[in-house]
Amino acid sequence: MSIWEYANPKKFMQVSGRVLPWLTGLAALTLSLGLVWGFFFTPEDYKQGSTVKILFLHVPAAMMAINAWVMMLVASLIWVIRRHHVSALAARAAAPAGLVFTLIALVTGALWGQPMWNTWWEWDPRLTSFLILLLFYLGYIALWSAIEDPDTAADLTSVLCMVGSVFAVLSRYAVKFWNQGLHQDSTILKVGESDPLDAAYYVPLVVCIAGFVLFFVVMVLVRTRIWIRARRLGALLARERMG
């Protein structure tokens, strides 16, 4: 059995319908476990105090904001190359989730930055990159909703997603070049180095990230199912008008 069978709308609806309740429960469980653990059962940082705990929202949201775009890019490529309708709709479904993750990352970043850097907003390269990513999400979503014909919209948004990805990476480097920034480097993957993320934070953070990933998958599945139903409804209405 090939993996592409799941790209068949019927098969996708069956499988996703069966998996979704379990996945939703698992996502809720992981997310609440991770957040409760992170917020209430971790020590306070000697420098940052309790503000450090916002990292349990900030880091997973920021990761997922980027991962959602990468997922959209992959889904767009699948649509362009293999013309699987579910893939195009999954890309569409992921965009608002990615947008919300970007917003969460920005807002929590501002809340975290206020006590640490003494300012709500800082044109730091990481924050700036996320602001630009937010614009990319807005443009992508606006293009989807501006075009009536669903296949045309899928094609055009796929092209935008591909070109946009290249320019998003370019922007990232341009912004780094433009301002070296206050933001601390990502420490999560630097376990061997000096000043690593303490294990007391590391484990609940990983649980939170897993929770965010599961939550994202649930959101994408639910929204893809909605778009499939909408497409079906549109086709039925169109046929009714014709006949």
Binding site: G139, I147, F167
Partner: protein, 218 residues
């Protein structure tokens, strides 16, 4: 190919072609910013590179929707798509025509406006050079955005939303060249990166734009 370039230039310069609107807008930006910021020369000199680049970028944005929308409405785009010249070439030519009437014209006007904004003397050559090198990227990226939105009625605002994030790297490197030039610092790195963006965009984006037009025509 040349016929298309000549036609687009003729159309731009004749009545209703919109040539000059972008320049007037650029002028307005250079007049309004000092009115808003205050007449203090030191501040203006510091922000001049950024204002001039942002002004040029917005002036360029104004005329983007004309690149394909008019040809789409009167049916010429259908005919161009079935004509012997490749659509990719037609896109590149139309972007080039757009650059000649906006980017190049803005570049020529920019030293005059730099006077209004009190740009330090050593910044002038870098301003002109960065605009010559960078504005073609604005036209090509804009042509790509225009191709995406050609089927959308009143798509001007959508076009801005799609294109402005794509302009970020060009803007950053372009303004950086002028800023460093005005301070007398080395400009080699941002200038090289700006040139790389322009050549990369000009080489690849016409293909993406032509694909988008074909999708919009069907």
């Amino acid at each position: 190919m040349n016929a298309l370039l000549i036609r687009d230039l003729k159309l731009a310069f004749r009545a209703g072609g919109g040539f000059g609107l972008g320049l007037a807008f650029f002028l307005l930006v250079a007049v309004l910013v000092p009115l808003g910021v205050g007449p203090e020369g030191g501040i203006l000199a510091r922000i001049a590179p950024g204002i001039l680049w942002v002004g040029a970028l917005l002036a360029c944005l104004l005329s983007l929707d004309r690149i394909f929308a008019l040809d789409f409405e009167d049916g010429s785009l259908d005919l161009l798509a079935t004509a012997p010249l490749p659509l990719e070439g037609a896109v590149a030519m139309k972007a080039f025509a757009h650059w000649l009437v906006t980017g190049l014209a803005l570049t020529i006007l920019s030293p005059v406006l730099a006077v209004l904004l009190n740009l330090p003397a050593q910044g002038y050559p870098w301003l002109v050079l960065s605009l010559v090198v960078g504005t073609p990227a604005l036209s090509v990226i804009g042509a790509f955005g225009a191709a995406l939105t050609v089927g959308v009625r009143r798509g001007g605002l959508l076009l801005s939303l799609l294109v402005l994030p794509l302009y970020v790297p060009t803007l950053i490197f372009g303004a950086e060249v002028v800023r460093r030039g005005a301070e007398g610092a080395a400009t080699g790195v941002p200038l090289a990166l700006l040139a790389a963006i322009t050549t990369g965009s000009a080489a690849l984006l016409p293909f993406a734009a032509a694909a988008a037009i074909r999708v919009n025509l069907r």
